[in-house]
Symmetry: C2
Subunit: 285 residues, 2 copies
């Protein structure tokens, strides 16, 4: 879905930057050619969430796709460089109502060798309506319109692609090793606003800054190495959510010898879970 915007936004060529990132050209060998999106640049490569969105899109674009995504696990194996990338999505097993995919993203390195920089597995399924309930209530949050927007002035490029309104657990402003609980709660949506779809939701699951920064009030190098998203929403719930703010919550369970985990929940504007997500994150201290 593409959203034409005014010329004074950051939108490239009249298309939403997320849609630009998701543009892929099918190749003769069945793979997809895509581009590392400059609009989502992080410190040493694209924002991990946008890489996850691209890996998912490479599956969603396949003609033999069965159903909708239920799960994606993305492993960030190495840095993604600017320029072209090749994404290969293979349906390794198709059952009656589920389909299992393996996905790899690769680029040629400086020596001209093809290197895998990202791997993923995706499960898609045809779901039918049945007993459903959330076991986890969303935290009480003020209306997003009344919450101050996180100031991204001078921040990395990808942060400008999101409208974040942090209610609890904002990024520390003083790095004094004081530390606090590792939980963050915020409202977030694409900027410019864009109707939510599966790739956008996968990308949103990675918006949290490293939990170690909050727990320690110390800014140490950190980066996600693996991330899983379980999609509870189907396309109908995504359509109802449209471009409203998503309630996002994340916390860590353990920090141990260079790796911490993160568990996250994303609710729609009505308080129904859209996705739950998990990460294993490298930190250097």
């Amino acid at each position: 879905m593409s959203t034409v915007q005014d010329a004074n936004t950051t939108v490239v060529s009249g298309f939403h930057p997320l849609d630009v990132a998701l543009r892929m050209t099918p190749q003769h060998d069945g793979s997809m050619q895509a581009t590392a999106p400059a609009a989502y640049w992080n410190m040493v490569g694209p924002y991990g969430g946008i890489t996850a969105a691209q890996m998912l899109q490479a599956v969603l674009a396949q003609p033999n796709l069965l159903g909708e995504p239920v799960s994606i696990t993305v492993n960030f194996a190495g840095p993604v460089a600017s320029g072209d990338m090749r994404i290969e999505a293979v349906a390794v097993r198709t059952n009656r109502s589920t389909q299992h995919w393996t996905v790899s993203m690769g680029q040629r390195n400086a020596e001209g060798e093809y290197e895998i920089c990202t791997t993923a597995t995706v499960i898609t399924a045809v779901r039918r309506e049945t007993f459903s309930m959330d076991s986890l209530d969303p935290p009480a949050m003020p209306d997003p319109a009344t919450c101050e927007r996180y100031d991204t002035q001078g921040a990395m490029e990808w942060l400008h692609r999101y409208d974040m309104r942090v209610v609890q657990g904002a990024i520390p402003t003083v790095w004094d090793d004081s530390g606090q609980e590792s939980i963050s709660q915020l409202w977030v949506r694409d900027d410019p606003p864009r109707p939510l779809d599966f790739p956008a939701l996968a990308a949103l699951c990675d918006v949290f800054f490293p939990r170690i920064w909050l727990q320690r009030a110390r800014r140490v190098p950190a980066g996600t190495v693996g991330m899983t998203v379980y999609f509870h929403a189907g396309s109908e719930q995504l359509a109802q959510q449209a471009d409203r703010h998503v309630l996002a919550q994340a916390s860590a369970q353990a920090f141990r010898n260079g790796y911490f985990d993160q568990t996250a929940q994303l609710w729609d504007a009505e308080g129904s879970l859209l996705a739950t997500s998990h990460q294993i994150v490298y930190y250097k201290e």
Copy 2:
């Protein structure tokens, strides 16, 4: 590690059933040949936890392995039949301190075609000692010696391989749709007792019965389709834990149109996290 047992236990040929399951023969093409373990049989194939352990073992057995496991994601793509299986583990990317693996398990079907039944990705890493803390306290639990052991009489074969002592959230004895909170807390270890290692820990992460049974007090068909384990423990912590009971906790966050998620924590006997784990589970209602 193998544990020789008395002849009157269930141990096959003097070896622990888990060690029997983890026996693999390297093939000329770099893959491993293993066997679907009868000692861990579930309703329509091996217990998912043992399949996860085998996928991990296929990585740990590689001569070019770097470090210890940090993460494994296993997707159960199709049923595993009895007999031989082929497990292929490929190091798709090796960095200075991390290594990324893709793993597939396959078997020949009745028509003689080779079919993938399980996929996995594994991240291994060389970890160094640094700031560590758990953000999640273990629940208060009585000593395992004082807890009643779950009676596995007449149960499926794999359940006899575990000594489970459920303190909270046992499998319902009356299926009356009454329902309750989806949380379970139990002590669990291999039976016969066996020193904990990474494959054993991966297997333990799948011991919980389907959360939908607890939430609904209704026994509906259910099966794990994807499972992730984040290993917080290194080999030193595993050695300290040895063969003592592990504290295991699991709950669901959402049940939605045929799939629910499960988030789980496993602590050692000293109350330090060994692993956190997540599943996406199919249910039919």
